[in-house]
Symmetry: C2
DNA sequence: GTCGATATGTTATGACATTACATCATATTT
DNA sequence: AAATATGATGTAATGTCATAACATATCGAC
C-alpha cells in the first residue's frame, strides 16, 4: 500500500528545505529571495514547487497570512480533515494541531447541508503564552 | 436599497449596501468598480469602509477568497467566537453558521496552550448540494 | 470659533499570484 | 533511432490584492 512517493525535483526540494529550516511561515517571495543564490529568478519557480508540495501534503498554506509552512507532523499524510493553525501575531510562531472533535463537528454540519467538503481550514490568531501581556 | 444602518458614514453605507445586495462575496476592487458611479476613485476608499464594517461585525472577510460578505445574521453582533463559512467552489455560494461545539472546542484547545484568541476563522471549501456531481 | 478626532480624497507603491509562451529532460511507443 | 508524450523549468509580462504617505474636509466638544 505504501508505495514510495516519487522523489522531489530539485526546485521542490529547495523550496521544501527552505520552509523546513525556517520552521515558520514564509511568503512565496521570501522563499524566492532566499533561493536566488541557487538560481531562482521568478515567482513562478516558487509557486510551482509550492503547488506540488501542497498536493503531497508536505506543506500547508496559511490563508490568513498568505504564507506557507512545512507540515509539522511527519507522518500525517493519511490524516483526514481539518488542520488547526494557532498563529501568534506577535512572535509569528505557528502551531499545527489536528482535533477530532472539531473535525467531527465540521463533518456533521457539512452532512446536514449535504455539502461535500474538499478542504477545511481553521486558523486562530492571537497571542501565544510567551507573548501574553 | 435597504435603509442604511445608523451611524454609518456615507462611504461605509455605500460599501455595506453593495455587499448586502450582492448576497455573495465581493473583492474590494469589485466593490470599487460598482461604486465608481457614486464617486469612488481609489481602493483605499473601499478598504477604509471595509475596516470599519469589519470592526462592527456587519461584514466578514473570507480569507481563502480575499473577499468580503455581508453578515447573514442580522442580530449577531453580540455573537462571540468563530464563524464557520461554507463555500461552494462551483457556484460561489457562501453560507455562514455559528457552531457552539466548534467554538467551545477551539477555546478549550486555546486555553490548553494558554493562547489568547483574538480571532478565529473556519472555512470549508467544497461543493454545495446544488452543485454535487 | 478653536481644537481634536474622525472621515475622506488622491497618488504612489508594495505584496501576492497567474497567464502565456518557450525550452529542456525523460520515458514510452513505433 | 526517431517520434511522441509528459512533466519540469525558465522568463517576461501582467493581473490582483492591500497599504503608505500626505492633503483636505467634516463634525462635535469645549
Amino acid at each position: 500500500m505504501t508505495a514510495p512517493l516519487p522523489n522531489l525535483t530539485k526546485n521542490q526540494s529547495l523550496v521544501f528545505e527552505t520552509l523546513a529550516e525556517a520552521g515558520a511561515p514564509l511568503s512565496a517571495y521570501t522563499i524566492l529571495d532566499q533561493l536566488r543564490e541557487h538560481g531562482f529568478r521568478a515567482p513562478l519557480q516558487v509557486y510551482r514547487a509550492l503547488d506540488k508540495l501542497l498536493e503531497r501534503g508536505l506543506i500547508h498554506r496559511l490563508e490568513s497570512l498568505n504564507a506557507f509552512v512545512a507540515c509539522q507532523h511527519k507522518h500525517s499524510h493519511g490524516h483526514q480533515g481539518a488542520t488547526v493553525f494557532v498563529i501568534c501575531g506577535t512572535c509569528g510562531d505557528v502551531n499545527e494541531l489536528h482535533d477530532q472533535v472539531i473535525n467531527d463537528q465540521i463533518m456533521r454540519r457539512a452532512v446536514e447541508q449535504k455539502f461535500q467538503v474538499e478542504s477545511a481550514m481553521v486558523e486562530l490568531r492571537g497571542r501565544c503564552s510567551g507573548c501574553a501581556d
